[in-house]
Amino acid sequence: MRVGVTVFPGSNCDRDALHAVKLMGAEPVELWHADADLKGSDAVIVPGGFSYGDYLRPGAIARFAKVMAPLEEFAREGGPVLGVCNGFQVLCEAHLLPGALLQNTHLRFACDRVRVRVETADTPWTAACERGEELVLPVAHNEGNYFADAETLARLEDEGRVVLRYLENPNGSMNDIAGVCNEARNVVGVMPHPERVSDSALGSDEGLKILRSVLAGATV
């Protein structure tokens, strides 16, 4: 399986994601922002960082990068896409996911380990998890405060599209939301970084549960 990782100017978790793809047992493929080509990827990760310096608004400029056109088409056709941190922000800006990520309510960057609960195993990125399972994942963001209007929020909850929920909310997110998916469930955005806990040499490989899901769950 080929897993593409987009590289925007200012992405800084791209190399970590490529490394984690190797550890999950897939073939990593670098997707340069200026090339409108997914290079035959079977799944795509939009990694964290500060694309275009987060200038204007996190993700606001990256959504116009050339690589986004084929990515949006891939997503519409049901291809599995995971946005992590800044990648989540990019996918929201691109309207592939509902809602927006506002500045943390305490107005500080938050780098920590947090406990989250997997709320649905019915996505290609959580298929290998149990519903209700708790994971400890790293967060590192300044704009991770998930926001959506009341109607959208109610729909997300009703349709079981909240993918991860914080057990200790680090940023003020509505309904403690740490990750959501689109209506078709193939596009998932999460603020925590599964790629940072995908190597037991660093003390935990719980993130592999999320990344490896796509190996089994690509057909969900």
């Binding site: 100017p9 800084n12 500060f50 310096g53 305490h106 780098c111 940072r196 003390g203």
Partner: protein, 747 residues
């Protein structure tokens, strides 16, 4: 303005101006005078410190590059090397804390990049005035935001550092940033320009008027007018830096660069003249080709601007198109601005006309001032300490809570939480331990790093404090299981033209050098920040040591946290030479509880430091122990509390001698004194025999067991972990005294 007024404004003395006349054999024009002004500032030219710096030992078996380059480099093994350096950004941070700190981080990253290494870790040593003052809180908050704002975006994890608060730093904070880079030994880059006719390429951002005369500004005392010099402070753009890093690493990988140099203090002038001087060549800069951010800039402004996120590269003719194409791919500027010449001058050419020309070696050779080292009078006064005035406390519970809540000892979580310390997925031991540990992907190896500074100690006893600073770093690395290899340092001192400042500088350097020799950790890079004075006087003399070490097997490391219930806890007491000095002298206890900074702290016993550290390291490396912490600020009691608080496992401490020791001041000295050469270790009880074998004849106290929800010292302290946590975990950014909902307000 007459000529004397002109050079005075530029920070040059009469003597220095005469020297310039003598060297050139003619009157310099304003541009040339500006070049001398920045290159002969203390910041660039080390004119007051150079003779003293030569005292530092800088050779060792692992040293690949000592002082004189952009950073020091040491060998790790398996073909890998580490480039590292610490640098100050004190003056800019005093007047514009966010940008001052941010550009401090950006600047040190480029130093590492110039060696060809990928920057992989940042650490920051910070000092501020007390937090009950609003201005100090503002400086602290904005400096931390600036470090995070830049480091987080540029994608280099901030894995360590330290902070202390004292009146001595009010109005003159210290912001020292250290960067560590990883490189294959064969790819090591040097900044020496070579090859007449080679092209000089400016990479990165455009040049503006920011930071004009910044180096000169940083080489004077801070006064009320300093505020008006905010335009001397540069503005950082971490996004541009990120692209500059990736582009330069790509150019190095493609083998397209002859040499590489960062643009820091004194901008192109400093980079070009240093590259030329070390290569024994000249450089022509066609100044009109430098891409400008604003119009109407004079040649001297373009030459000494300290605009950030720029690098200077030397490229062979024929390669420039490839280089410029890569610059374009990474979205940064790339312009050929000059060439290497045979004449030996830094020559500034504007539209074909030479507007200034100075031999590069003159610029690189600032005059040197050697001064008499005279013991200042204040020492006799502050070294007085009558222990009779320090009684046994009535209530140790209260003392411990008060100390843990003090900003100097409180948890640093609210700082580290604002720094991304995991990006890069190499961080094995995260901030909060004695040292940070990182792995090298694809190998079993790792490396560790720490920064340490002991300003109060150096103030009370400059020589002893200098040695103790190095010893503390050595202990910290040993705790995590790393073999200490070498140090970088940032010498933060007051005005060297004053007797007190020069004495402190000379004595600290002597003490550090002795320790570096005895502990076999040579100095491979460094930076000097003098003139840290305000109207209220100089800062504490504060040499900051950044030490790196190597782990052959990164999985064998230790951290301070108690890990299991029922572990045995043993204190290695080190040895204390019978010098009569009390370990309470200059201690945190004395300052926090009694408000006094006095006495002569025990002189570090370097042989004992080495022996104890080497012992702990060997136990960690063999996998015998995974829990170790050194005794430092707050002594044994605070160290034990820190170990318990790390993961919330309590302690039951039972030493029958406690009662015997009390009443003679001995108990206080043992629990809260700062003796040096001491460690606390913990391990499962079934390993006790093996541990005893390892300890051999080393002095230790077997003091108790981990476990439970309480922190208990029989008959002395009995506190719930929750009470300890409440004191220790208080938000450092809150307003002291302001209580909201049971905890201090978020500032």
């Amino acid at each position: 303005m007459n000529i004397q007024e002109t050079y005075s404004v530029l920070g040059l003395s009469d003597f220095e101006y005469d020297r310039i006349l003598e060297l050139l054999g003619r009157v310099p024009n304003f541009l040339e005078l500006s070049l001398f002004s920045v290159m002969w500032s203390e910041h660039c030219g080390y004119k007051n410190s150079r003779p003293l710096l030569s005292r530092f030992p800088n050779e060792g078996p692992r040293v690949l590059q000592g002082p004189g380059e952009n950073a020091g480099v040491v060998e790790v093994g398996d073909g890998w090397a580490l480039a590292f350096k610490v640098e100050s950004h004190n003056h800019p941070s005093a007047v514009e804390p966010y940008e001052g700190a941010a550009t401090g981080v950006g600047g040190i990253i480029r130093d590492i990049l110039a060696m060809g290494a990928r920057p992989v870790a940042l650490l920051d040593a910070l000092r501020f005035g007390p937090l009950d003052d609003e201005r100090n809180r503002y400086l602290f908050r904005e400096v931390v935001r600036g470090i995070g704002g830049y480091g987080n975006a540029v994608g280099v994890p901030t894995v360590g550092g330290e902070v202390e608060f004292s009146e001595a730093y009010s109005g003159n904070p210290l912001v020292n940033a250290m960067c560590v880079g990883l490189i294959r030994m064969e790819n090591l880059m040097r900044s020496r320009a070579t090859g007449e006719g080679n092209l000089v390429v400016l990479l990165g951002s455009k040049t503006g008027r920011d930071g004009i005369h910044g180096a000169t500004f940083a080489s004077g005392e801070l006064t009320e007018e300093s505020e008006s010099r905010r335009s001397n402070v540069q503005v950082g753009d971490p996004f541009a830096e990120k692209m500059l890093i990736e582009c330069c690493l790509k150019l190095l990988e493609e083998d397209l660069l002859v040499s590489l140099q960062d643009l820091g203090a004194a901008g192109i002038t400093s980079s070009a003249s240093e590259m030329a001087a070390s290569g024994g060549v000249g450089i022509d800069i066609e100044v009109e080709k430098i891409p400008r951010r604003e119009s109407g800039m004079e040649p001297f402004e373009a030459m000494i601007s300290e605009s950030q996120e720029r690098m200077l590269a030397v490229v062979e003719p024929g390669d420039e198109e490839k280089v410029l194409a890569f610059a374009q791919r990474y979205g940064i500027g790339g312009t050929v601005v000059g060439r290497v010449a045979g004449h030996g001058d830094l020559r500034v050419i504007e539209n074909g006309e030479i507007v200034g020309s100075v031999p590069a070696e003159y610029l690189a050779d600032a005059p040197v001032y050697e001064r008499e080292i005279v013991r200042p009078e204040y020492l006799a006064e502050v070294q007085k300490l009558d222990l009779e005035t320090i009684p046994e406390p009535d209530d140790y519970n209260e003392v411990l809570l008060k100390m843990l809540a003090h900003p100097n000892l409180r948890s640093r979580r609210t700082i580290f939480g604002q720094y991304d310390h995991e990006v890069g997925t190499n961080t094995v031991v995260r901030p909060g331990a004695d040292a940070a540990v990182m792995r090298i992907k694809g190998t079993k190896r790792g490396f560790a790093m720490t920064t340490d500074g002991r300003g109060r100690h150096c103030y009370l006893d400059p020589r002893g404090g200098g040695a103790a600073t190095v010893a503390e770093a050595y202990r910290n690395l040993s705790c995590v299981g790393a073999e200490p290899v070498a140090i970088t340092n940032c010498l933060n001192f007051g005005n060297p033209e004053k007797r007190e400042g020069y004495y402190q500088l000379a004595e600290c350097i002597e003490g550090m050098s002795e320790a570096c020799e005895d502990l076999a950790t040579p100095v491979v890079s460094g930076n000097v920040s003098l003139y840290n004075e305000t109207a209220r006087g100089p800062i504490y003399p504060t040499p900051v040591v950044g030490m790196v070490g190597v782990l052959e097997d990164v999985t064998c490391h230790a951290t301070p946290a108690f890990k299991r219930e029922g572990d045995m806890v043993v204190v290695l007491t080190g040895t204390m030479r019978p010098t009569g000095e009390s370990p309470l002298a200059g201690s945190e206890y004395l300052e926090i509880v009694h408000g006094r900074v006095a006495g002569v702290p025990p002189k570090p016993d370097l042989a004992a430091e080495k022996r104890a550290s080497d012992l702990v390291r060997s136990m960690v490396r063999s996998g015998l122990i995974d829990t170790a912490h050194d005794l430092s600020g707050g002594g044994e009691l605070v160290a034990l509390a820190e170990m318990a608080l790390s993961d919330g496992i309590g302690l039951e401490y039972s030493v029958p001698e406690i009662e015997f020791m009390s009443g003679h001041g001995r108990l206080l000295e043992n629990l809260l004194g700062e003796k040096g050469a001491g460690f606390i270790i913990a391990f499962p009880e079934e390993r006790w025999d093996e541990v005893q074998d390892a300890l051999s004849d080393f002095a230790y106290d077997n003091i108790g067991y981990t476990g439970g929800e309480r922190f208990e010292l029989e008959g002395l302290i009995d506190l719930g972990m929750e009470e300890l946590r409440e004191a220790y975990e208080r938000d450092l950014f809150g307003v002291p005294g302001e209580v909201l909902g049971g905890s201090e307000a978020v500032g």
